[in-house]
């Protein structure tokens, strides 16, 4: 098969195909960027949610957990933890979160350990708001069940 392809033809496929792919991807990106605010409820990003996202980052939470399936695979998925641990109720979830964060690291020998991050009550609240916001993102019905 390849005998019939000359170097020049291969070169044209590379430049033509590469450029075509880039243009398609750029076009799709433009559309996606316009749709994401609606799909993710951008208008619901309060200051507290934004602060929560920053806390998520500067404590490297993604180094153990996944969020919407991305991250490390050492600790549970947190994109839907609001539904799993808070039964989709804000007060329940926030109560759970402050108890959970304060209890780390759990004194269970052999169990994977979550460090103590010494977050203030307000910071835990921000983190909870961020996770509540995340749980409402339109993610094509993922994950398959509540266990994440």
């Amino acid at each position: 098969m390849t005998e019939r392809i000359t170097k020049n033809m291969a070169k044209n496929i590379y430049f033509g195909g590469g450029l075509f792919a880039l243009l398609v991807f750029a076009g799709l990106t433009l559309d996606t960027v316009q749709q994401i605010p609606k799909l993710s409820n951008d208008d619901k990003i309060t200051e507290s949610v934004a602060r929560g996202k920053n806390l998520w980052e500067v404590n490297n939470c993604v180094g153990c957990h996944t969020i919407l399936g991305e991250g490390a695979y050492y600790a549970p998925e947190l994109g839907n933890v609001f539904n799993r641990r808070g039964a989709s109720d804000e007060a329940t979830f926030k109560a759970y979160m402050s108890g959970w964060m304060a209890a780390q690291p759990l004194n269970e020998p052999g169990r994977r350990k979550m460090p103590q991050f010494n977050l203030t009550e307000e910071e835990v609240n921000d983190m909870s708001d961020f996770l509540i916001w995340t749980s409402k993102v339109h993610s094509n019905e993922w994950p398959p069940n509540i266990e994440g």
């Binding site: 291969a10 996202k53 052999g110 460090p115 993102v137 339109h138 266990e147």
Partner: protein, 458 residues
């Protein structure tokens, strides 16, 4: 070695190999933490060790690419490197920045590291693979720009071959897409979307151009096959890479908040993604078969063929298996991803670095025909130990991923097990993974040993 300035590559190769040893060591640490959660806690928590593991990988690949480039560009351009001084200076800057960053991860809590490096001024930290403090990221940009300047000036003043142009294109792409690392919007979904611009467009687009160019260079050298023929293959491979790989970014946009049309577009484009890797196998084995010379450095050719095969298995096969949207619905974010990640990074990028080192290092050490037979025998042993080790890790993690899906994800009637319970069930499998990791480490030590095997007196 035809040009004395090619010698600057040596330090890059040596440092890349040192970092690789560190990477594997931290891999074993987190592999142990998978079984014994208390291991090294609280001194080195999992997230820290994992960050060291993945960041060392990225930095060592960059060092390997830079070494490969400095070695092959003068020979391709038929002229001395534009500025060996710049290449040496950038080596020390990059090495110092890399070491400082890793020490920062290990000895300063991450939140404190973010604070003292001024993350709030330009927040970029805390995302997978992009954990580096902003100041380190700026340093990476400076180093890469200086590096590209050096390479481009060399190419401009000398012979322009397809290999050097493709390599330069890949390096430019690497630099351009890294700039998205500085974009960190408040909206997590937007953040994720452009995060893939760095991560995916590095490993499944621009880096593949670099890989293709290095592979083509080594194949020309050790097989003596006509350059025209090699060039044609290189174009075909990278054409398929870009056609499938760029839009193939869409396979990451299935379940993270992007529009639903990506389910189709991502699936279709990524179904083509194994093709460039398959072409790479035909390329490497075809050129080996048509070889015009019998190069004494046989192990370099073995690494080249091995790269094509393992990259195809890791990136092509294991990638394809979970890239279709309905499959990915269950596999997304499981150990299956880790399985694919390990074999593809190793098969494509670590092995191409071994390939170029295996070819270039003996020459830089004055052994123009490659290492002695004895040394090559040791290196061949290392080749198999590392390949079997990594293949074992990938297979075992694949099994772990399958078990995870069946126990934790499949049932929708409320009988599914929790994440932590599932992980406990899989722990025996993780033990086997650790054993393969130890095999890999022994392979790596054997490889290092091969550098010190004395040359035969004849």
């Amino acid at each position: 070695m035809k040009y004395t300035s090619q010698m600057v590559a040596k330090q890059y190769f040596i440092f890349a190999l040192i970092l690789l040893a560190g990477e594997v060591l931290f891999g074993l640490i987190i592999g142990t933490q998978y079984i014994a959660g208390d291991f090294l806690f609280p001194e080195i928590p999992f997230n820290v060790a994992r960050m060291v593991h993945t960041n060392l990988l990225i930095v060592l690949i960059l060092f390997g690419f830079m070494g490969a480039t400095y070695y092959l560009i003068p020979e391709e351009a038929e002229t001395e490197l534009w500025s060996p001084k710049l290449a040496n200076a950038l080596f020390w800057i990059f090495a110092a920045a890399g070491v400082l960053t890793i020490l920062g991860y290990l000895f300063v809590p991450y939140a404190t590291l973010a604070e003292i490096t001024g993350n709030e001024l330009l927040p970029t930290m805390g995302r997978e693979f992009l954990e580096q403090p902003t100041i380190t990221k700026v340093g990476i940009v400076v180093v890469v720009l200086g590096f590209i300047l050096n390479v481009a000036m060399t190419v401009l003043k000398g012979r322009k071959t397809v290999i050097s142009i493709v390599l330069l294109t890949g390096l430019l792409g690497l630099a351009v897409f890294f700039l998205f690392a500085f974009y960190l919007p408040e909206n997590l979904i937007m953040d994720k979307f452009f995060w893939w611009y760095v991560v995916h467009l590095w490993v499944e687009a621009t880096w593949e151009l670099i890989l293709g160019a290095i592979l083509a260079f080594v194949l020309i050298k050790v097989t003596g096959v006509d350059r025209e023929h090699i060039d044609k293959w290189l174009y075909l491979i990278i054409a398929m890479t870009l056609i499938s790989g760029i839009v193939g970014t869409g396979h990451h946009f299935f379940y993270m908040g992007a529009p639903s049309y990506w389910l189709w577009i991502g699936s279709i484009a990524s179904a083509v993604e194994p093709l460039p890797f398959f072409l790479m196998i035909l390329f490497a084995f075809g050129m080996a078969k048509q070889r015009k010379i019998q190069h004494d450095n046989e192990i370099a050719l073995l690494w080249a063929k091995g790269t094509a095969v393992m990259a195809f298995l890791g990136a092509g096969v294991l990638g394809f298996i979970h890239t279709l949207a309905p499959v990915n619905f269950y596999t997304h974010g499981t150990q299956l991803t880790a399985s694919h990640g390990h074999l593809s990074f190793y098969g494509a990028y670590i092995m191409i670095i071994f390939t170029i080192i295996s070819y270039a290092m003996p020459i830089m050490r004055g052994r123009l025909h490659g290492n002695s037979e004895k040394a090559q025998k040791v290196e061949t042993k290392a080749f198999w130990m590392m390949n079997v080790g990594m293949l074992g890790i990938a297979i075992v993690l694949f099994i772990a991923g399958y078990m995870q899906i069946m126990m934790q994800r499949w049932a929708t009637d409320g009988s599914a097990m929790s994440f932590m319970d599932t992980q406990a069930e899989i722990s025996t499998v993780y033990m086997v993974r650790l054993l393969f990791g130890l095999l890999f480490l022994s392979g790596l030590f054997t490889y290092f040993y091969s550098f010190f095997v004395k040359e035969d007196s004849n």
